[in-house]
């Protein structure tokens, strides 16, 4: 079965007529909306590369059906720069050199933005890092990512 699907993505309303019931949110975002910044890694909830925000909550899009988020507001990496928290995370990653191949990067950025929205910018670095540890990176050895998190501005602009 396919049904209509309506969401807000990165601040823009999007409507699709025929999204199958069994389709993963990851595939809808990548192949129907064409937002390829959201990465497909393990496709089984183990790597975090496909993380998106659903109503500001960090969500693994590979384990979520598209129709579970009907009517929600989604943020993907392409929309991160729309808000100051997202921009500060991108700046911190760029300054700290917290990426190499870049395949895990969108997932890390989104997951961190989600944590900052959930816990506030004053959340202790250790807590943020503990909650980020479900995202895998094979290139950096994480240390530059740790430096990026530690360097984030801790007050609202």
């Amino acid at each position: 079965m396919a049904q209509p699907w309506r969401v807000t993505v990165n601040g823009e309303r999007r409507a699709l007529d025929d999204v199958p019931d069994s389709e993963r949110l990851l595939d809808t975002i990548r192949w129907r909306l064409g937002l390829k910044g959201t990465k497909e890694g393990c496709r089984s909830g183990e790597c975090g590369a496909c993380t998106v925000l659903v109503d500001e909550v960090s969500t693994l899009s590979c384990l979520t059906l598209a129709h579970e988020v009907d009517g929600a507001s989604l943020t993907t990496v392409e929309g991160v720069a729309h808000d100051p928290v997202g921009r500060s995370v991108q700046d911190a990653f760029a300054r700290a050199g917290a990426l190499q191949c870049g395949y895990c990067t969108p997932g890390f950025v989104i997951a961190l933005v989600g944590l900052l929205k959930e816990r506030g910018r004053a959340a202790p670095t250790e807590e943020l890092l503990a909650d980020l540890s479900g995202n895998l990176c094979r290139c950096t050895g994480y240390l530059a990512i740790v430096r990026a998190v530690a360097s984030l501005p801790r007050e609202d602009p």
Binding site: D27, F93, A94, G97, L99, Q100, C101, R138
Partner: protein, 733 residues
Amino acid sequence: MSVSPRPDAGPKLEGAVTFGMDLESPDMLWAALVLSPVARGRLRSVDLAPARALDGVVAVGAADLPALLPGAGDADRPLFPTDTVSYRGQPVAAVAAPTRERAREAARAVRVEVEPSPVVSDLEDVFPEWPGPAADASPHVVAHVRAREGDVDAVVRRADTVVRETYRTSSIHQVALEPHACLAEVKQGIWHVRTSTQTPFGAREDIASLLGVPEGSVVVEGTWVGGGFGGKGSALLEPYALVLAKATGRPVRLALSYREEFQLGRTTLPSVIRMETAVTGGRIVARRVRLLLDVGNSLPGRDFATGYSIGFLLGPYRTPAFEVEGYAVRTNKPPFGPHRAPFAPQCAFALESHLDHVAREAGLDPDEFRAAHLWKEGDSTPLGQPVGPFGLATAFERARAVAARWRAEAAPDRGVGIGVGFWSTNSGAGGEVRVRLAPSGVTVVQGEREIGSGSVLAGVAAVAARCTGLPRDRVTVAYEDTARAPFDSGVFGSRTTAAIGRAVQEASCALFGELRKRLDAPGLVHLALEDDEVVVRSDQRQRPVRELLTEEERAAGGIETSGRHFGKGGAIDERKVEVGTFYPYTDFTGAAHVAEVAVDRGTGTVRVVRYAAFHDVGTVIDPTTALAQVEGGVVMGLGTALTEEALWSDDGRLLNAGLLDYRIPTLGSVPPIDVTFVEGFEGAGPFGAKGLGEPPIIPVPAAVALAVRQATGAHVTELPLSSERVARALKLL
């Protein structure tokens, strides 16, 4: 340490770069491979009819290949087997369909009938004892190498102390987060494929050979690469996608699922390493090293690992007499694949642990014992290669100073170990670049994609900036596909910045020669920026580049020169070689690492508490990415040391083909790492650079194992040092 953003940071942080997995074409089909369900057997039938019955599905098997590929491909490496299957997951057919789900459904629908034969899963089942003279005739021996110097038996008989040990290492996987993926199209006789690859030209050669088509009819366009680590060299999926594209007349996307990635990606397989060392008067007088390396379904002539990696069991230590012998052993596993510094971390683990043990048995200080035998400039390797400028002994001294301080501070459950390793800056088969000077800046035109290390976009760019004297923001490194770019060997072997950088140097020299002529002024010329525009200056004269361009150059975007680099080979002393081929090393690099560990005395769990790495990389070209390479390499090595182990069942199944069961390091498990570059030992790369991509992983398992030994006395002779293995060594199990 303050760092400047990499040129690719912005687009990657915005999700704006296209990886192989992101490839799409408006009328493309989705593909899937049909994989052998058993590891060994006679192939009775591959029935494609149930797949073909599905709407829009095209299926291709061995029987369809002659019509699709009239040129004979490599007979030793058919795309699909016709009579026997040799490993579980071997592709036996391929399907294309309008959707991903349909393609998967079609692949599942194909009926594969195999009459199973007994599976050879473990190399120790093939050779429970060291192979005798008859082994060369065994169908399981893919390669055999042997070299020697002196009469080892005689020296061993007279020695003060002789130590014999056996080490075992496990199977590890690259775990690049992006699975292999490509998009193929066949149009007007051109086999065109966009793919996530470390070696566009290597893939082109491989594709042409496998399909039996002229190399000139194959075009490989590299995408951004979501991690390589050795797993994305030559061709893997591309030939299958191209055959389906030919059969359907449509673009075809083929990507592995992550489970398939574990199964078919290029795993480094297990080994058994035997070590024997004789000591007299506190000095090594003879060594004998033996390697049995599982190479899975590798074919004779295609095993590079044995003749290359076995050298890491001998050096970086002087020995007057030695014997080295290795066998590449064929089993019913996928073909062996290179994993960052192929097999050197495993060799260093065995060698360092062994020499530490030898020193203890001989009543000597283990660190002092190793230091006394390390190669220095002017030495020769056991196989007769001269050692050039080499900072390993200096790195080791620096590491010893740190270890002494940490040992003095360490709590009782802690231990500190030092591991060393050496590597070679592999130049490959050489290559070429073009350098183009325009009024706005300089562009390096070349054929390698950035795989993440920064070796292309940061390393080559830094060399070009230094060669031309222009600021980094006026340097662009441009990628072109194999039809347009000059040839290069690939991004592997820690070669990229060093090798391509040499070509950039040569092209820059040619550029300045041309500019000198055009400026028509005596003496040196250099480039500078004036009013936002590149100008050519000498002592007496200055002109904007704009005014020095010919009509054609203006149309083409600038003055272009080219430069080459060559594979600079060292040579083995062939008099020492008795059997097989040993490959020489070039431009020695080395590292000494210090690990401090805490070991849980109840469970055997090892935690690395802090870490220091001292590296001789010749001259550091780009400090930001150099630091990043060491950090990332060390952490990858911590996985090899402690948790990573692909497990194979007796019937040749990979038991832990997923990221929950195959454990790579996570953010919470990483210690602080202090990185120091030991400079002053210039390499053959630009400005004295040596390679750095692989060396950081090499000493890690050794450093960790020796730290565990110091903490607990446990002498673990198998990788990884899982809790279970350490607990056994501590007699907890």
